[in-house]
Chain length 166, copies 2
DNA sequence: TAATTCTTTCAAAATATTTTGAAAATTTAG
DNA sequence: CTAAATTTTCAAAATATTTTGAAAGAATTA
């Protein structure tokens, strides 16, 4: 496999994968492209490489910035804006974990807490309460796991954890 | 909030949430409904409660069975098929982790291994290799974490892990 | 076996999401 | 300030996904 083929395959794979995760293809492909690019890229560049429209590029580049996965950089003497990806993949993982926690876990926790509080006066309501309580535990676990990733500035403990389950 | 309201809110919330995860609303709502139902339900029942078509119910019930999240049960003297959800939520989490691992992680690992092998003869190719290698690590971590959930028949070690990061 | 009940399938319709592209807005240079 | 370059916005178009419903298929009963 040549380098160009590998590059295409990576970008394509990343894009396909992302859709399973509720992230759109363009955004994932933009991220993949910038991730493996040693140079900052201008909007025109990414438009051409991925064959997407200006509007699409603009919107998704902004979303990637909101996620903290890419940054604008200015080149001296250049008027256009360039973009680089965060290259430390652990930082990327941390960033994604943080965002998903904020967007997905926190709201669920709030709803579950609200729902746990209803009176358990029928068998149905009791079952409901039981499920809500158990779900809280599971969600709590997910939350802790994400936090572990987020907080793991040092890899030591993570390493230990991994060893145990290897 | 009355029990009926709570029930609706739960089913609705679960459905909304699921779409962010690439699971369709009907499937999530069916799961939510069966999860909190103390009784096995027939197709007609879920169709009526969720206001969905027979075809939709049939397909998504099957998908839920494929995921190992619900089961068919036969009631004596009844000709129709009834459905119950797996009620042990940790088992549910385990099952979901297992499926996601199979469907999402394994294919990525394969592609990354393939891509790691290309020759690093240019700066671009070197950067590419570096990213592939780091991604392998992150994916490996995700894989291990999922495995930890899957294998944790006992909660002890999990508890230890959580304590450390609390 | 035939009739009845229930389940599955799948093409078409409905819905939701993503992408485009041109106009508007913004920024920079002269 | 004006003009040119660049970026953003957003309604419409394209695409993808989900849902429907009726027909076909299976299973059960008489």
């Amino acid at each position: 496999m040549t380098f160009e083929e590998a590059k295409d395959k990576f970008i394509h794979t990343w894009g396909t994968l992302a859709t399973q995760w509720g992230i759109n293809r363009s955004m994932a492909q933009l991220h993949a492209l910038l991730l493996i690019s040693p140079e900052a890229m201008a909007t025109e560049d990414v438009m051409e490489q991925l064959q997407i429209s200006r509007g699409n590029a603009s919107m998704n580049l902004r979303d990637l910035m909101d996620w903290g996965l890419i940054f604008k950089v200015l080149k001296p003497g250049e008027r256009r804006e360039f973009f680089v990806a965060e290259k430390d993949i652990w930082k990327v993982a941390r960033q994604v974990a943080k965002e998903r926690r904020r967007r997905e876990i926190t709201p669920v926790v709030d709803v579950l807490n609200e729902l746990k509080a209803i009176p358990a006066d029928t068998p149905e309501a009791q079952e409901f309460q039981r499920v809500m309580a158990e779900l809280s535990n599971v969600v709590g676990f997910a939350d802790n796991t994400l936090n572990a990733v987020i907080k793991a500035e040092e890899n030591w403990l993570m390493g230990q954890f991994l060893k145990v389950f290897r």
